[in-house]
C-alpha cells in the first residue's frame, strides 16, 4: 500500500469532503497563502476558490462565524492555528458550540456541523502559549466531540467522519505527527468515532495513550520487551465518544493500567479515565486494579529545551509508571 504523511492524509480528507459536499467550506488564518498554520491546505484555494479562504487574525470571528454558518446551512471546517489560541474563542467553543443543540432542545433537526482543527503538542520549544495539549477543557464541555488521530490512516478516516458529523468536533493534530508517514489506501474509507485501536498487543500492563503519547508508549513497549514486560498499547482515537469497553477489555486481560496524556496532570483526562475504570470495576463487583498516570507536570510548558523535557511525559516516565503498577 502507498505511504503518505499525516499532512497529506489530512489534506486528502479535506479535499475529498470539499468535492463531495458543496456546503463544506474551510476558513482560517493563512489558509490560502500558506495552506494554514501547518500547510495542510496548500493548493485548496486554487481548486475551490472562496470555499477555502484566509481570514483576518481573529480567532473569535473564526470560531463564532463557524457557529453562525453551521446554523444557517454550511458545514464549516475552521482552523485554529494553535490549540492555545482556542481560549481566545472560548465563548464560541464552550458556550455556543457545546451548548447550542441542548438549549435548542434538539428542535427541527438542529445541529451544528463544525470541525475545529487545532494543532497541539510540545517537544519543540515554542513556549507556554504555543505548546499545550489542552484536552481536558474540551472533554469537560458536554456537547463537543473530540478526535485525536495518531497515524495518517486514522487522521484521514477520522477527519472525514468529523466533517460528516452533525455535531461540533474538536479535531486535534500533534505537531510532531504532521510529517509522520504511514499506509493510507487510495480508496475511500471512514473511521467511526468511539472505536479505540489496540496499537500493540501485550499481556502485563495496559497503556492507554492519547495522541503523540502513543508514539512514546510504543517506543518504551519495544524496549521493555528485553525486561520481559509486555505492554498492551490502546489508542482511544476519540475521547468523546470514548470506547470504555475497549479499555476495560484490555484491563481484563492485563489486570493493570496506566494512562498517558501530554496535558497537565491536574484534572487531566487520565484522572477521569481512572475514575471511570474504578467505577466500572466496583459496579461489576470486581476489585480495583493497580492504576497510574503520566502527564505533564503542573506548570506551564517552559521554553528552554531541557526544562521542557523535564516537564513533559517521556518514555522513561512511562516506564517508571509501568514499574509502579507491576509491583
Amino acid at each position: 500500500m502507498r505511504e503518505i504523511s499525516m499532512r497529506e492524509a489530512l489534506k486528502e480528507a479535506i479535499r475529498e469532503e470539499l468535492l463531495r459536499d458543496q456546503t463544506v467550506h474551510i476558513w482560517g488564518e493563512s489558509i490560502e497563502s500558506k495552506g494554514g498554520g501547518f500547510a495542510i491546505c496548500r493548493g485548496l484555494t486554487d481548486e475551490f476558490g472562496e470555499r477555502a479562504k484566509d481570514t483576518p487574525l481573529a480567532e473569535t470571528a473564526i470560531a463564532g462565524s463557524a457557529v453562525g454558518a453551521a446554523f444557517t446551512g454550511l458545514r464549516p471546517i475552521v482552523e485554529i492555528m494553535f490549540s492555545d489560541f482556542a481560549f481566545v474563542c472560548g465563548d464560541e467553543i464552550f458556550n455556543k458550540m457545546a451548548k447550542a443543540r441542548y438549549v435548542y432542545g434538539g428542535q427541527d433537526g438542529f445541529s451544528l456541523p463544525i470541525v475545529v482543527r487545532m494543532k497541539v503538542g510540545g517537544y519543540v520549544s515554542i513556549g507556554a502559549e504555543h505548546s499545550q495539549t489542552p484536552l481536558a477543557p474540551f472533554m469537560h464541555a458536554p456537547g463537543l466531540k473530540i478526535a485525536f488521530p495518531t497515524t495518517p490512516y486514522d487522521a484521514k478516516g477520522l477527519l472525514k467522519t468529523a466533517v460528516r458529523d452533525d455535531n461540533p468536533v474538536m479535531f486535534f493534530e500533534h505537531i510532531l505527527h504532521y510529517g509522520a508517514r504511514g499506509e493510507v489506501p487510495e480508496e475511500e474509507y471512514l473511521i467511526p468515532f468511539g472505536k479505540a485501536r489496540v496499537r500493540r498487543e501485550g499481556d502485563d500492563v495496559t497503556v492507554v495513550a492519547i495522541g503523540y503519547m502513543v508514539d512514546l508508549a510504543l517506543k518504551i513497549a519495544e524496549e521493555m520487551v528485553q525486561d520481559g514486560v509486555s505492554l498492551e498499547v490502546v489508542d482511544p482515537r476519540t475521547l468523546q465518544p470514548l470506547d470504555m469497553d475497549a479499555i476495560m477489555r484490555s484491563i481484563k486481560k492485563t489486570g493493570r493500567v496506566i494512562f498517558v496524556d501530554e496535558d497537565v496532570t491536574c484534572c487531566g483526562v487520565p484522572a477521569e479515565l481512572m475514575a471511570r475504570v474504578y467505577e466500572r470495576l466496583t459496579e461489576a463487583g470486581k476489585p480495583p486494579v493497580p492504576m497510574a498516570r503520566v502527564g505533564a507536570a503542573n506548570v506551564p510548558i517552559p521554553y528552554s529545551p531541557p526544562l521542557e523535557k523535564a516537564v513533559l511525559p517521556s518514555p522513561e516516565k512511562i516506564a517508571a509508571a509501568v514499574e509502579k503498577v507491576l509491583v
Binding site: H25, A58, T60, G64, S65, T72, K96
Partner: protein
C-alpha cells in the same frame, strides 16, 4: 422602500404586539414566580419592529436580550416563545433553553447569554448567505453595551473585508445595566465605528419606526445586491430598569431624563402619524390594540397552563446522531 398603508399597519401591529407581550412578562414577574430574567424592551419597540418587519422569511435576524418585538415581528409564535420563557414543555426547546431560543424556520439566529457573541454568529450567517447564493441578508441587533466587546471589531472587520450581507443595527439606549455610554466609550455615536470598517454608518431616530424601517431596508437591499455591510445606530431608550425581579439601582439616571424620553413614545408617535396621514382611523387602531391584548392574554394563559417538562428531558438532546 416605499411603505404602503398595509405596511404601516403591519408596523403598528408589530410594535403593539411587542409591547403587549412585554407588559405581560413584566406583570408575570411581578405577580407570579417566573424562572429566569426579563429585560423589558418597552420604549424600544420601533427598533425591533422597524428592523424585522420587512425582512424575507429566509433572512436571518440576530436577537438581543431586550424585549421581543423583533422576534415576534420576524414571525416567531408568541405563545410558544412565552411557554419557553416560562420553562414549559410546550416551549420551542421543551423549556431547556429559555427565551433565547426560537425555531430555526423563523430565521432567528442563536442568541447568546454572553453579550457580544451575536457579532461573530451574524458574520457566520452572512458567510452562509453569501455562499449559498439565495440572496439572504442578516440583520444583527445589538446594544450599546455589546458594542464595547472586542467581538464587534473582529466580526465587523470580517464582514467588511469579505463583503458579507450583514446589517448591524445598534439599539443605543444609552445604558448597559447602569453604566452610561459616556463612561464606557470614547465616541458619542456608535455609528462612528463604521469608518473603521469602511462601511456606511448612519444615526437614526430610534423612536420613529418608519425612519428605522427605511434605513434598515435600504441597507438590506444594499446587502442583498452584494454591496456589503452597513451600520445603523438607533437612538432609543428603555423605560424600565435593566431587568425585572432584580434589585437594580435607579440612581444612575434621572427622572427628568426618563420623562423626556417618554414624551416620544414610539407607539404613540406612530399612532398619531397614521391618523394624521389618514392611513387608519382611531377605531381601526383601537381594534388592533384590542385584538392583540386578547392574543397575549390567551397566549399567557396557555403558557401558564402548559405542563413542566418531564425530568428525563434534562438528559436528552446533547448530541445529534
Amino acid at each position: 422602500m416605499k411603505f404602503t398603508k398595509e405596511d404601516k399597519i403591519l408596523l403598528y401591529r408589530n410594535m403593539v404586539r411587542g409591547r403587549k407581550y412585554d407588559e405581560e412578562l413584566v406583570e408575570l414577574f411581578a405577580k407570579v414566580k417566573v424562572p429566569g430574567m426579563w429585560h423589558s424592551g418597552i420604549g424600544q419597540e420601533a427598533v425591533g419592529a422597524g428592523a424585522a418587519t420587512f425582512l424575507r422569511k429566509d433572512d436571518w435576524l440576530e436577537p438581543t436580550h431586550r424585549g421581543y418585538t423583533f422576534g415576534l415581528a420576524k414571525g416567531v409564535d408568541g405563545k410558544r416563545w412565552l411557554a419557553e420563557h416560562l420553562g414549559r414543555a410546550t416551549g420551542f426547546a421543551k423549556g431547556k433553553g429559555g427565551h433565547y431560543v426560537a425555531p430555526k424556520g423563523s430565521g432567528v439566529l442563536p442568541f447568546g447569554g454572553t453579550i457580544g457573541s451575536a457579532f461573530p454568529i451574524s458574520a457566520g450567517a452572512g458567510i452562509s448567505a453569501k455562499r449559498l447564493g439565495k440572496g439572504q441578508v442578516v440583520v444583527c441587533l445589538f446594544g450599546d453595551g455589546a458594542a464595547q466587546r472586542g467581538t464587534l471589531h473582529e466580526s465587523m472587520n470580517l464582514a467588511a473585508v469579505w463583503q458579507l450581507p450583514v446589517v448591524w443595527v445598534c439599539e443605543n439606549n444609552l445604558y448597559a445595566v447602569t453604566a452610561h455610554l459616556s463612561q464606557s466609550m470614547a465616541v458619542k455615536d456608535i455609528a462612528d465605528l463604521a469608518h473603521g470598517y469602511n462601511m456606511p454608518g448612519v444615526i437614526i431616530d430610534g423612536q420613529d419606526v418608519l425612519a428605522v424601517a427605511e434605513a434598515v431596508m435600504e441597507a438590506v437591499e444594499r446587502a442583498r445586491a452584494g454591496e456589503g455591510p452597513s451600520l445603523i445606530e438607533c437612538k432609543t431608550y428603555r423605560y424600565r430598569n435593566h431587568g425585572e425581579g432584580g434589585a437594580f439601582p435607579t440612581s444612575y439616571r434621572t427622572k427628568e431624563e426618563e420623562e423626556e424620553w417618554k414624551k416620544r413614545d414610539p407607539i404613540v408617535l406612530f399612532r398619531q402619524c397614521l391618523l394624521d396621514e389618514g392611513d387608519a382611523t382611531a377605531e381601526e387602531l383601537d381594534a388592533i390594540d384590542k385584538e392583540l391584548v386578547q392574543e397575549v392574554l390567551e397566549a399567557s394563559r396557555w403558557a401558564q397552563e402548559s405542563p413542566w417538562p418531564e425530568v428525563g428531558q434534562a438528559f436528552t438532546d446533547l448530541y445529534a446522531d
